[in-house]
Symmetry: C2
Subunit: 140 residues, 2 copies
Amino acid sequence: MTDLSIGEISRQSRVKVPTIRYYEQIGLLPAPPRSEGNRRLYGARDLRRLSFIRHARDLGFEIDAIRTLLTLQDNPNQPCAEADGIARDKLAEVDARIESLMALKEELEAMVGGCGHRCVGECRVIEVLADHHKCLHAEH
Amino acid sequence: MTDLSIGEISRQSRVKVPTIRYYEQIGLLPAPPRSEGNRRLYGARDLRRLSFIRHARDLGFEIDAIRTLLTLQDNPNQPCAEADGIARDKLAEVDARIESLMALKEELEAMVGGCGHRCVGECRVIEVLADHHKCLHAEH
DNA sequence: GCTGCATCCTCTAGTCACTAGAGGAGCAAG
DNA sequence: CTTGCTCCTCTAGTGACTAGAGGATGCAGC
């Protein structure tokens, strides 16, 4: 098991060095052994764990959810309903975010399209923001 | 011009009381005059400005962008290319966010669908997070 | 052995846009 | 006069990092 420096594991996992130290600080990644010169020495297990974390963060999972997922991963004989639940919750959240962004997109398109670059006094962008009734979607 | 208390303007603008004080602190909303008992007294102008801010925040504009938009609104004889530019930037950002969320949605759906609630050892959710090659979208 | 440079260490403080809470004062109704 | 609501200021906390100071270590070339 070749030892990896923090810089090396950072390149391989594509997680920045200060972020790795931060993960150690909050207890997401175990504190690794140190070299004689006090440098962190990581192994293959750490690289897998860090990749797992990065991947989950990319997918929008919060640190707390990842903590649960990692505990689950460490005990593979438990039923996985909890992991499934976390993913399902995330999916619902993502669906909602997409929907509201689609509404926002329409609104912004109406703003941008309607303005002929004359002067602020007649600008659609400002107008729509100032007067809620000009919105396409009144619910917000 | 009837004076509004901070609670009243909060209800009418649907911006929370501490948030209004925060906006005053960062100079987004001018400090209003005070009553004899040192309470803030707002007018119709403040309500309009606050509604503008809330609306823009709802649409995902950052405080700094809103600051620019407000300055623009205060001088209505300027050309509005800048306001239009801010909205266009926001639109591009929203488009990108929607796209990445759609990819994420697919990924999560594959996770959630593939797991029959047996045990963590065979859970799709954990597997996909641990092993990047099981992803639908390899680019992240 | 020495120099120079990259990498590493710890620690503190800053980011964004609020939110929470302490501790106290004002105000209107009963 | 008391109760309960709203208001005041101030400080500190949130999440997930990021930036920077100030110093130690490690290694390649001369």
